[in-house]
């Protein structure tokens, strides 16, 4: 773990310093203050992302540092969309997610800019990663909702929101097409760069496994409806577990060395 004494690092820390009090204010039922701080954090996250873009002179979605920076930006618009369009609560979780995803960017991952290796110079690179990241934020939100359901919590502040089990399904239903598109774009890109649309690489296999867990979730929920709602929620959480392994473990663990290891 290391502190980044750079403008980039400073921007990340200030963003986190806005997201965390936003979270605290929201669970303390200071909803308005929470929203203002959340928005301020988002504005800072955008500045941080644009700064990085200018600095490295390509879409900054090349390594884990940049990917987590992007996640820090994405959580606010997704939160806004879920609240306004889907009536899904748990904004406190979005603020926490914002701070959590920026932590590795601020303290763990190396921010050293890299020159893009030939395989990464493809127009599919940015959409493939961006679409995946967006779906991950939806799935993470779904996991928080599933957790709320399993812990039998009532929505904290927002009264007009849908129940957590249903919210979990709605969020997965929004995230799943993005997850599918991410998988397909990756496969198409693999065909262009490596000659195969499917290389049986550990990262590919983990991403297929996480996609299948959600396919299973839909079919299970279709079969059992809301007869076993706790299993529905546990299933949704399993999906997030496989996503976490796909995103982190494969890039970090040596045992899974493969074509995607450059992303460490």
């Amino acid at each position: 773990m290391e502190i980044k004494y750079t403008i980039q690092g400073l921007l990340i820390y200030i963003t986190m310093a806005a997201y965390l009090p936003a979270f605290v204010a929201t669970i303390a039922r200071r909803t308005r203050a929470g929203r203002v701080l959340f928005f301020a954090g988002f504005a800072l996250a955008v500045i941080s992302f644009v700064y990085r873009w200018i600095h490295v002179r390509h879409v900054p979605l090349q390594n884990l540092f940049e990917v987590f920076l992007f996640l820090g930006v994405a959580c606010y618009p997704i939160s806004w969309f879920c609240r306004r369009a889907l009536r899904i609560g748990g904004q406190w979780a979005d603020m926490l997610i914002g701070a959590i995803v920026l932590f590795p960017a601020g303290f763990i991952f190396n921010a050293e800019p890299m020159q893009l290796p030939p395989a990464l110079q493809c127009w599919l690179f940015a959409p493939h990663v961006a679409v995946y990241m967006l779906s991950y934020v939806f799935m993470l939100k779904a996991t928080f909702q599933a957790g709320e359901h399993l812990l039998n919590r009532r929505p904290r502040v927002e009264e007009t929101v849908i129940p957590p089990e249903q919210a979990t399904y709605e969020l997965i239903a929004i995230g799943f097409p993005l997850l599918t598109l991410g998988l397909v774009l990756g496969s198409w890109w693999g065909k262009l760069a490596w000659g195969h649309y499917w290389g049986w690489d550990p990262k590919e296999l983990w991403s297929l496994a996480s996609w299948l867990v959600y396919v299973g979730y839909f079919h299970w929920r279709h079969m059992s409806g809301t007869k076993h709602p706790r299993i529905n929620s546990l299933w949704a959480m399993m999906g997030m577990l496989t996503i976490l392994v796909t995103l982190l473990w494969v890039n970090l663990a040596r045992i899974f060395a493969g074509l995607h290891s450059y992303a460490t």
């Binding site: 369009a85 020159q115 893009l116 290796p117 030939p118 395989a119 110079q121 493809c122 239903a173 929004i174 799943f176 097409p177 599918t180 598109l181 397909v184 496969s187 198409w188 890109w189 065909k191 262009l192 760069a193 490596w194 000659g195 195969h196 649309y197 499917w198 290389g199 049986w200 690489d201 550990p202 296999l205 983990w206 297929l208 496994a209 299948l212 867990v213 396919v215 299973g216 079919h219 299970w220 279709h222 079969m223 496989t242 494969v250 045992i255 899974f256 060395a257 493969g258 074509l259």
Partner: protein, 348 residues
């Protein structure tokens, strides 16, 4: 829900969980062994069963047939699986046996500049086969990010890096002095005929190097050459070790396809930009050099089944977006429209 439908759904769940579990196991095997595993006989049986299950599902559940998005996404899965089987190595072998269609599934084609080649070393088969046309390589080149970088290490474990540009200097501090880059060579040559050897850049070839001076306090500046390809030995008394590095930006092969003496296709292929001709894709895979010079290594891959796989992808992605996003968006617009339409009625 009827007994049969229930059973089909249970079978689907088992099949999906099984494949997820096998994918996780495959991730521990590494790509090569995983590929062999997923192409093994029990898994071939699994793939056929999965296709049958999907088809039976579509035939048995009315909603899967009636709701276009559901039909599209389930049919998309069938197309992807069929395309993948058609394009696999066993798929190629089967087509050769049944229909006499003889296509190379995958192989490697090594080719020197200004040469023409049609022989492909078939992957995993130790066999050389010929393409029904030839490939000519007009030029092969590597492009680099400029400037490269000079890496410097001191004996006490410190390290520095500087852009490999003429005129750059870096003060290392203390006894180590200052490092300066005097010249950057693309193709370093040295003329030893004079009393003082003369280094010069010869156009054409490639032997990238840097001329570097190290200016230490109290001694005359020392000159040295740092080569990109031949790192050389470090003098045990030398307090500094150096290395010159340039990151590859791209590999480019200027290819032409020649059939019956005519050029029928041409493309400068690079990573991410293959050439497609005659049922094959040609990829820039690698390069190497031997006593005859540099040669480009191309990967040749049959395109069988690719259209089905891509068609399946389109159906699958279209289907899931339509099902989960499109229907929700429509619903949202409909409710919105109904509310605004009702207002005049309510006021009457």
């Amino acid at each position: 829900m009827s007994q049969l439908k229930r059973m089909l759904l249970w079978a689907t769940l088992v099949a999906v969980i099984l494949l997820a579990g096998l994918s996780v196991c495959g991730a521990f095997l590494g790509a090569e062994r995983a590929q062999a595993f997923f192409n093994s006989l029990p898994l071939v049986v699994y793939w056929f069963a999965a296709i049958a299950l999907l088809a039976t599902g579509i035939a048995s559940f009315r909603r899967l047939l009636r709701v276009p998005s559901l039909l599209l996404l389930h049919a998309g899965c069938i197309l992807v699986l069929l395309g993948a089987m058609w394009g696999s190595e066993p798929g190629h072998a089967l087509r050769k046996r049944l229909f006499g269609i003889d296509k190379i599934p995958e192989g490697e084609l090594d080719i020197y500049e200004q040469m023409q080649e049609d022989r492909v070393v078939v992957k995993d088969a130790n066999d050389v086969r010929r393409l029904p046309f030839s490939v000519r390589l007009n030029d092969f080149r590597m492009e680099y990010y400029e400037p490269g970088r000079l890496f410097i290490w001191s004996r006490d474990g410190r390290d520095w890096r500087m852009p490999a540009k003429a005129g750059q200097t870096l003060a290392l501090g203390g006894e180590l002095g200052t490092v300066a880059i005097r010249r950057v060579f693309r193709n370093f040559r040295i003329d030893l005929r004079e009393d003082e050897p003369v280094a010069y850049d010869e156009p054409g070839g490639s032997n990238p190097a840097l001329e570097v001076t190290v200016d230490r306090p109290g001694s005359a500046p020392g000159k040295r050459y740092v080569f990109e390809r031949r790192p050389g030995h470090t003098n045990p008394d030398d307090p500094l070790a150096m290395s010159y590095f340039r990151a590859v930006r791209d590999y480019v092969s200027e290819l032409e396809i020649v059939r019956d003496g005519q050029v029928v296709a041409a493309k400068d292929i690079e990573v991410n930009h293959p050439l497609h001709y005659g049922g094959y894709h040609f990829y820039q895979q690698s390069w190497n050099e031997n006593e005859f010079g540099e040669y480009s290594i191309l990967m040749v891959v049959s395109d069988s089944g690719l259209n089905a796989v891509y068609g399946g992808y389109v159906c699958l992605v279209g289907g899931v977006f339509w099902h989960f996003w499109g229907r929700r968006t429509l619903h949202w617009f409909r409710t919105h429209y109904t509310i605004t339409a009702k207002i005049p009625g309510e006021s009457q």
